[in-house]
């Protein structure tokens, strides 16, 4: 029987995370380039990635800062993009909640899409893992991704500083977001949420201080949640009908 120590699970997590490097590095580069275009120096861009460590939220804040949005709305919008991290944290808690506080604090910082997606599958598939083994795996999944994200930011910021503004790189940011959205649309409810947010976002730009973003986002969330509820009820009803049918 193979001996699975926390250390071997760390290595397993590291190996499992390697494909994600292909995604994280280009986005890190892009964040660096765009922050340079926005006027940040290399140190500021790195501080941003180090302190926040959440790609989509960083892109959001960068965009809104350039539109002279009030700081409270920049923060609220960027944190709204990050709300899913709260959800990840909640869903990891049954598996990691018993670990020492310092480990939980580090794990919280390292909770990103990739580490969550890999870990939750692993923990569900192998319920026999102990808490230290799970922590080992979780830390393994970010051991390469996190430093690469930082390094890519620095390289991007350095390269970006040499790129003239006339290249119109601003338009790459919406493209980067669009690339992220497509794969997220896994259910009809996701699509409804996305569609409603798109439709509301255009007239909502008339609202002052970019508040429209939050309004359109909330509208999309409510539409998605409501659709999920309807679909559940509909499938429960059709099931009930089949059972009572002769």
């Amino acid at each position: 029987m193979a001996i699975t120590t926390p250390k071997s699970l760390f290595l397993k997590g590291l190996v499992d995370s390697l494909p994600f490097l292909l995604v994280a590095s280009p986005f890190g580069l892009l964040f660096g380039v765009l922050s340079a275009e926005a006027g940040l120096n290399v140190l500021e861009a790195l501080a941003f990635s180090l302190a926040v460590f959440a790609g989509a939220a960083q892109f959001t804040a960068l965009q809104l800062l350039q539109e002279n949005t009030p700081l409270l709305i920049v923060l609220a919008s960027a944190l709204a993009v990050n709300l899913r991290m709260g959800m990840y944290s909640a869903s990891l808690t049954p598996y990691l909640g018993a670990a020492p506080m310092w480990q939980r604090a580090i794990a919280a910082y390292l909770t990103v899409d990739q580490s969550y997606a890999l870990s939750i599958v692993k923990f569900e598939d192998e319920p026999e893992l102990t808490v230290p083994q799970r922590m080992g795996y979780f830390f393994g999944t970010t051991s390469v991704i996190a430093p690469s994200w930082m390094a890519a930011t620095v390289i991007g910021a350095w390269v970006g500083a040499q790129i003239p503004a006339s290249w119109g790189l601003d338009f790459v940011l919406p493209l980067a977001f669009l690339a992220m959205i497509g794969p997220m649309l896994r259910t009809p409810a996701h699509m409804v949420a996305c569609l409603v947010a798109i439709v509301v976002s255009l007239p909502a730009t008339l609202m002052p201080h970019n508040l429209g973003l939050i309004v359109a986002g909330l509208a999309g969330m409510m539409a998605g949640a409501q659709t999920e509820l309807w679909l559940e009820q509909a499938s429960a009803r059709s099931k009930a009908k089949q059972e009572t049918a002769p």
Binding site: V23, N82, M180, A225
Partner: protein, 109 residues
């Protein structure tokens, strides 16, 4: 082009650092094994798929390289990026198509 000052930038960085950490730590640190209410989880599931399109749509419809004027080529590249991402379920392919489309815009424009 850049119109914000250092202070704003650092306030945003520090605020986001604290806020993001709080979001990530809230449950694993404090909640223990307690469940969140269903209605809240149901809404949280749709934050990213709602907020990101809401942010992107105006930027695509009124792109900054044209000075905010709606432009068919920019729209086409945006739709291409989105559709490739949706069909391949792969962020990387979508990003590459977006980059290719952007390059075309750059060379033609």
């Amino acid at each position: 082009m850049s119109t914000f000052d250092q202070t704003s930038l650092w306030i945003v960085i520090m605020g986001m650092a604290l806020g993001s950490f709080a979001l990530r730590f809230a449950f694993i640190g404090f909640m223990g094994g307690r469940q969140m209410p269903d209605w809240l989880m149901r809404h949280l599931r749709y934050t990213a798929v709602a907020i990101l399109p809401a942010l992107v749509t105006p930027l695509v419809v009124w792109p900054s390289p044209t000075g905010g004027e709606t432009s068919l080529p920019h729209l086409a590249v945006a739709v291409l990026t989105f559709v490739v991402g949706y069909l391949t379920r792969n962020v990387l392919w979508a990003l590459l198509s977006g980059a290719g489309g952007f390059l075309l815009l750059f060379l033609l424009g």
